[in-house]
């Protein structure tokens, strides 16, 4: 049985810069996998390649045994991959509920004619969209804020709306790009519970995060990137002790001094 998502030898160049250099890793079903590495290591680029925003120079992305390399982002979402963004990209002037409803887009069908005549099928679909959106908001404990405009929420709440919006698309795989960034310890703790809640829904999670406590207590496996290459992979406890990883974070001198 092959993994849910397989990254095969992904390389991507922007002009002269090699952002990813032959990166390969798998994400197994129902696991939480974390991607860590210093700033500029290429973590967000990995997300952008998976979700189709960038097309890799070479290599393949296989999702549920299907090659999705170079597909348009909306087609990839349809296949069951949803994401959040490192620098929040909500639809700021829309209500929280509308934000999440838009997340349901790829599971709906109603078009222009549906909009105009609102036949029973359309009304039924709207009802399902509403239910699904409220459920997604419930997962992140934001049902009470559904009528607020997204831009009026606090930073931590906005991050949670992004998660709800991603959940509304019924994903199989959820990509979280630094979900805990800018949150205080309490908010981080709540977020951790939420991620576990999502995991119990049977959704596989791939996350990029800088907060090591967060990463170590949540993930089943950690992959480490540095300068566009994968330098380590394994359970959190092992990766923590890996000399190369410590060198990547703290510099080679520190490792030499310690040993």
């Amino acid at each position: 049985m092959s993994a849910l998502l397989e990254m095969k030898d992904i390389t991507i160049r922007f002009g002269g810069l090699v952002a990813l250099d032959g990166v390969s890793f798998d994400v197994e079903e129902k696991k939480v996998v974390a991607l860590i590495g210093p700033n500029g290591a290429g973590k967000s680029t990995v997300f952008n390649v998976i979700t189709g925003i960038y097309t890799p120079t070479s290599g393949k992305v296989i999702f549920r045994n299907e090659d999705i390399t170079g597909l348009k982002p909306y087609l990839i979402t349809e296949r069951g991959i949803a994401r959040t963004f490192q620098n929040i990209r909500l639809f700021k002037n829309l209500s929280v509920l509308d934000n999440v409803k838009i997340g349901c887009h790829c599971r709906g069908r109603a078009g222009i004619f549906g909009a105009l005549c609102r036949h029973p099928g359309v009304r039924a679909e709207e009802k399902i969209i509403l239910e699904k959106s409220l459920n997604a908001l419930d997962v992140v404990d934001l049902t009470g804020k559904r009528a607020e405009l997204a831009k009026n929420l606090s930073y931590g709440e906005q991050r949670r709306v992004e998660i709800a919006r991603a959940l509304a698309s019924d994903p199989v795989l959820l990509l979280l790009d630094e979900p805990a960034a800018g949150m205080n310890p309490q908010e981080k703790q709540t977020l951790m519970w939420m991620v576990q809640r999502i995991r119990r829904l049977g959704i596989t999670i791939l996350l990029v995060e800088h907060d090591m406590k967060f990463v170590m207590s949540l993930s089943d496996r950690v992959d480490v990137l540095d300068y566009g290459r994968k330098i380590a992979s394994g359970p959190p406890s092992e990766v923590q002790r890996d000399a190369q990883v410590i060198a990547a974070y703290l510099g080679k001198e520190v490792v030499r001094e310690c040993s």
Partner: protein, 291 residues
Amino acid sequence: MLLQQLVNGLTLGTTYALIALGYTMVYGIIQLINFAHGEVYMIGAFVGLIMVAVYKVNFFLAMLVAMAVCVPLAVLIERVAYRPLRKSTRLAPLISALGVSIFLQTLVTLIKGSPNPLAFPQVIQDTVYVLGPVKFSTIQVIILVVASLLMVFLQFIVKYTKVGKAMRATSEDYETAGLMGINVNSIVSFTFALGAALAAAGGVLVGMYFNSVHPFMGVSVGLKSFCAAVVGGIGSIPGAMLGGIFIGIVEVLGVAAGFDTYKEAIAFGLLILVLLFRPTGLLGLPIQRKV
């Protein structure tokens, strides 16, 4: 014959380029399509005309006076109509620019008494120089020389002076330039001033070349020069020069080839073609999607 058309196209094109520079510099710095720029050019032409016809001054002096009038005018327009809107939606300053444009057209029509064109007095002895198969008129020579000098001067300012460096920094990143201690407001004013000076010179030169000055002359030429700026790659100074000359030559050749009734559409056709194949213009840098 073809060579002659090329010379005519080049002459027309350099005037487009002079005006296009104002569009491109302003866009480069505050991402605003300054629709009132065509009106600055029109007022430049009128001031030049008045100086020559009423005060009987020398043509070059008339051009300098036109510049001296248009520079504060453009700075004032920026101060009143654009600066308060710098942080609002993209469309607000655009509408404001259109308002300024309508205002100035009407104002000039009112002062002048009618929208009809005025003839530009023959101030320069128009001799024709023959160079092999090509004929140059004095006016053409003046346009080419004056426009080239102005463009060289502009390049000098932008490339080699402190204020030019500040302009480049501001167009690269408005916010950061401000944080680095550049007074961005005065840089924006300076940019408008430079653009206005070039447009005023362009207005006087074109008024003389086509022997006609009227309150709505800025509309068509303004739009075409703007096309030139976009074709060359908006925000790029060499791009505006290249785009202006390119559009001028194609327009003249198109008319010569019998498409004279389509003259007004040639620049726009070219614009759409260029944008479809090079979405940021001939010399514009490709946009990288930022996530």
